[in-house]
Each structure stands twice: as C-alpha cells, then as structure tokens.
Amino acid sequence: MYEIIKDSKGTLNHGISACAGCGMELLARCVFDVLGQDIIIVIPPGCAALLTGMGTESGIKAAGMMCNLENTASTCSGIRASLDAQGNDHTTVVGFAGDGGTLDIGLQSLSGMIERGDKVLYICYDNEAYMNTGIQSSSATPFLASTTTQPAGKPTVKKDLIGIAMAHEIPYAATASLHNIADLKKKIQKAKDTDGPSLLHVLIPCPTGWRSDPADTITLARAAVNTGVWVLYEYEDGEVTVNYKPKELKPIEEYISLQGRFKKVTDEEKKEMQKIVKKSYERKIAKLEK
C-alpha cells in the first residue's frame, strides 16, 4: 500500500518533524530497529503522532494506527485478539504512548490490558509533561518542575508507573534510559519475547519542555541515573534486577542546573529536593532489592 518516496535506513523516515534533540525520536528508532516490520504499532495523539505524518504521508514504514489519547492499551488488546483469532502469533503489537496518555488518562486502559494478560508490548516515553500540547503538568511531572499549568513548580512527586505494573504481577517490566542504548535495546527485545503483557518506561529528556540545550539530551539522561532521579531496573517473573547503581549519587544540581524548568527553584527548595530524591532513591532500592 505504501508508495515509498524516499527510502530510509530503518522503519522510521529520516527528517521527521520532531524537535531538535528529541529523545522520543531516538527511542522510536531504537524500538523499530529491534522490532523490525512484523509489527502493528498504536500511537495516541501526542509527540509521537508526529512520526505518523499528516494526510497521505507517513514517517513510519509499518502497519499502524493513531488511536485516541486514553486507549492505546485497549486498542492494542483488540488488535492482539484479532491476530490471535486469525492464528497469527508472530506479529508484535506495540503501543507507544507518552506519560500523559499512560500515567494519567490511559492508566485504566493499561491496567486492564496488563491484568487480562494480553500479549502486547507497551512503551511509555516519559518526557514528564504534556509536551505536544504545550508543556502542561502530568502525574509524571517531577517535584518542583515548572510547567504551563504549574508555573510555580509541581508540589508533588511523580507517579510510579512500574510500581503499578508490578502490583499487577506483569510478566515483564523495565525502566530504561537513552544514555544506555545497549541496555535499552536488550530490554525492548526481552519485552518483545515476553509471552504476555510487557511494559517499558523510558525517561525522555525533552529540550522544548525541560528548557534544556538540545545537545544535552544524552547528558541529561545519564545525569538522571547518576543523581538517583531515575533508577534502571527490570521486573521479570516476579524478580527484580536493579541494572545499575551509582557508587555514590551525584548532587541533584548536576541534573537540574541544565534545565530551565527548575530555574525558579530556590536554594532552600534545592535542599529539600535533594533530600527527597535521595530518600526516594534509597527507599526504592531497598524495596526493589528486598
């Protein structure tokens, strides 16, 4: 059905209209690299909808559809059931949604999909706010980050997506970060090979929304892990593996000073933030390694 105007190296076109330094685009390329083209991808309206193109042109050389904002998981469930009914057990059904479409409005649909055990690979690209709509807070927005709906900074911490998935005893779930592509791709492959629902939660630095230098996207991804803001771990058959633990947590300053969204944070608040990040990191590691 596709008339290929310009052949690209992978499934995703070159020169698609994502922002400079967009982490989501890099993640998408990794996803397509690992999954190949025997896929049906479901993308809700959001940043990744840009990949789907407009009108008769698409940036994705694979079967897929744009669903609504809150039903990525349930649309995937329907597609999976349809393929199963036709005896197709080889095609990967993949949902690719942002934090708003996953942790906020899409949480019920995702919970249903995981609980039913539907074999779907769900990837949440978490840029920590409704970036495509204009940087409004989501439940994934971190403590004190400034957004257009909470310009003075979000007074609460972010929601724990993988924790919620673990509470469902999901067969495979993992966090990942863009500074470690090998680890990320290994996790995409594991998720693909899972016989049942799988979930990847990837932190996505967003120059537009985080007000950071596009050149700093990978630096920020690494800093998030080294400061303890983002923990890399896997949940597999009920067992947790923490993939990486910094010998010593770097000061939070190394992460937030590169981002305009934390510009208004006072020295006092920074101290509080540091305390919360450290405490939350330690609590998380303790809980995961229990």
């Binding site: 789907t52 009108g55 698409s58 039903n71 469930s77 329907g78 059931a81 349809s82 036709q86 649909s109």
Partner: protein, 400 residues
C-alpha cells in the same frame, strides 16, 4: 428452528450466526446477559471467537475498532451510561470506517438514576455517523442485527450500526423466535473482508493519522455520501433477507395508514402497543394509523413523506425528553421530512425512565389528534404521561 428467547439472547444468537470473531464486552443493566451469554458460548466452544473481558465500555469499543481494522468481525453491546462512556470511540469507529454492529439496549442515562427504558442513550449518538435500527420485538432484534452486518460491511457503506432494543420490554421478555440455520446465514452474509484501510504487517499502511484542513471536509463528505446512499443497499439487503429467510424487513412499517385521518409515528417496543390500540379504535370506527420507523439513521425522509404527504394531522411519539430543544429528535426529523406538505404535526414525549407506554395513553393521543383533525380542539398533551403537579415530586429536586 423456533426457540424461546428474550431480546438479549436474540442479539447473542445473531452475533453468533454472524460468526463474530472478536468480542469485547462490559456488563451493564439491562445489557448484562448479552455479555454473560457471549462469554459462556465462547468458553464452551459453541462460538469460535476471542472474548476480551474489558474494564469499561470505552475499552470495549476501542478494542473492537482495533480488531475490526485487523480483519476480524468485531462485536460488543452496551446500554445507557455505557454508550455515553463510549461516545468518543463511537465517533472514532464511524470516522475510521470500522463496520461494527452493536446491539444497544435502550435505557435512560443517569441522572436521575434509572435502570429502565428510554431512547436518550442512542438519541444522543444519532449524528455521529452510525446507522441506527430500532426494533419492535425480539424477532426484529435477531433479524435486523443479521441484516445490519451485511449493510454495514457493504463496500459502498463501511459504516457501523446500532441495533436498538428497548431495555427490559425487549431485552428481558421471552418470545418465540425463528432462529435461522447457520448455513442459511452463511449463504446470506459474506466473510468479513476489508479492502480499503486495514492493519496488516504484510501490506502496511498507517491508518487514522491527522487529516489536514485541505482534506478533512472531503473525508467527512465521504461518510455523508455513504449515509445518503445507504437506502439503496438497505433495500437490496432487506429483499435478499426476505428471499433467504422469508421474513419481510422494513425501513419504515406502515400500519393501517392508507385511509387514516390521523397517524402516529413512533419507534421501538411501543409500536406493538400502538398497533393494538389502532385495531381497537378501528373497531370503534376511528380512522387511525401508525408508522413504525425502523431505520432512524440514515433518516428515511422520502419514505415518510411518501406515506404522510396527504395527511392533515400527524403525531410523533418520542421516548426522549430533548431538553431545551423545540421538538424532540424523532419529531424534528418528521417535521423536516414533511417540509412543504400541509400537515399539523404534534410532538408527544413519554415512556421516560421505563414508564410504560400503555394503551390508555396511546388512545388519548389518537383522540387528541382526531379532535384536532375534526377542528373540535387545538390542544395536545405534549408530555403525555406526566403526573399532575409534577413539581411536587421528590423533595430533593423540588422547585430547583
């Protein structure tokens, strides 16, 4: 083969006979037994399908859209608040041209909370690109559901359809139903096939991305075109149905309209009561008649006009309150259909929240219409079954 079935089980039989491959259903009174029965016959192997036990109606319709685009005939059923929750995906299904057929068991939408019959749920969805068939009895439910698949999936139509059955009056009332043999239905209904947009990794396309301002109007027009041209297909399918199964299906059904002085237009299970009253009043020498609208979307303007063009007084009974509008929806459409004709059209509202549309009220309507026809009165009772002193009902709502 004849079976004793209620309306919900008739809908299930139709879905089974249509060989629906993916079911995503969420229970809601009075639809629940559809969800239950489908899951039962999938589990015991009587029906070869995948059953997705979804966590909401929104998900039910989302899953059906995904399944339908991936090449499986997909089915669900709902009612009332469930349909309201689906609303967003109702628009998505018709716009993406997923030809899903869905029985809807009519029930009032909360609030005030009511478990019982009214047409508000489907009426609120009437302009969103779905065909709507309203049924009178359980045989209708089975027949129109089977026919709806063939109409919805027609390559010139590709438009989803609701088959509406009145909550409890049909969903839970047992009737003797002629259930066709599977082979007969297989001959009638071709295999589900998508030829335009679909999800298939071997022939990839991206479905439903953004349509710019340069194309949107035309894409919408294509939906309108399908609706406008549906009657030709509906007539053909109904003819084929009659040949195959021996029962006549109607876009609108006339009942003793030919020499009638006044005609009442209505839909759903009440049409049985109206026919009964027409017969009694005819015995009294009163020339009354009825039109039952089966296909409400697309609206059969021409068919209605043809029957009513010479009538002077017409009543329209809506089972829906239509707050703030000048006329409720069925009446609005009949007025539009009769544009240019010299008819006095009166709107009646009743049967809300499960209140029985009883013979006394229908007789009262006909007598009012006859008085208007004879020139002896000009009044009609708009809310026909309203109690005296309605403002005194329920302390918590009183005079608010």
């Amino acid at each position: 083969m004849f079976k004793m079935l209620d309306g919900n089980t008739s809908a299930v039989e139709a879905m089974k006979l249509a060989r629906v491959k993916v079911i995503a259903a969420y229970p809601i009174t009075p639809q629940s037994t559809i969800s239950e029965k489908l899951s039962e016959i999938v589990a015991n192997g009587e029906m070869d399908a995948k059953y997705i036990r979804v966590e909401s109606e929104h998900t039910a319709m989302s899953a059906c859209i995904g399944a339908a685009l991936t090449g499986s005939r997909a089915g669900t059923a709902t009612s009332s608040n469930g349909l309201a929750l689906m609303n967003e995906m109702i628009v998505a299904a018709s716009g993406i041209r997923a030809p899903i057929v869905m029985p809807v068991v009519n029930r009032a939408i909360a609030t005030p909370w009511s478990l019982w019959c009214e047409h508000m749920d489907t009426m609120s969805q009437r302009d969103l690109g779905w065909m709507q068939f309203f049924t009178q009895n359980c045989q209708d439910v089975l027949d129109y559901t089977i026919a709806a698949y063939k109409i919805a999936e027609n390559k010139d139509i590709m438009t989803p359809a609701m088959v509406c059955l009145d909550g409890f009056f049909l969903s839970h009332s047992m009737q003797k139903i002629d259930v066709p043999a599977q082979e007969k239905v297989d001959e009638f209904l071709p295999e589900y096939e998508l030829t335009n947009s679909y999800l298939n990794p071997e022939d990839p396309m991206f479905v439903s991305n953004v349509v710019g301002m340069n194309d949107y109007t035309e894409v919408k027009y294509q939906q309108k075109y399908a609706m406008d041209n549906a009657f030709g297909v509906i007539e053909n399918v109904f003819d084929e149905f009659e040949k195959q199964f021996g029962r006549k299906l109607n876009i609108i059904e006339e009942y003793k309209t030919e020499d009638a002085d006044v005609v009442l237009v209505c839909m759903g299970s009440m049409t049985g009561t109206v026919k009964y009253v027409v017969d009694i009043m005819r015995e009294q020498g009163k020339k009354v008649g009825m039109i039952k609208i089966v296909v409400f979307r697309p609206f059969p303007y021409k068919y209605i006009y043809e029957v009513l063009k010479d009538k002077k007084v017409i009543g329209v009974f809506d089972r829906n309150s239509c707050l703030g509008g000048q006329y409720p929806p069925v009446c609005t459409e009949v007025i539009a259909a009769m544009k240019g004709a010299d008819a006095d059209i009166r709107d009646y509202v009743g049967g809300l929240g499960g209140r029985d549309v009883n013979p006394a009220n229908i007789e009262k309507i006909f007598n009012e219409l006859l008085d208007i026809y004879n020139g002896s009165s000009d009044k009609h009772t708009n809310w026909i079954d309203l109690k005296e002193n309605p403002m005194d009902s329920r302390e918590v709502f009183k005079y608010v």
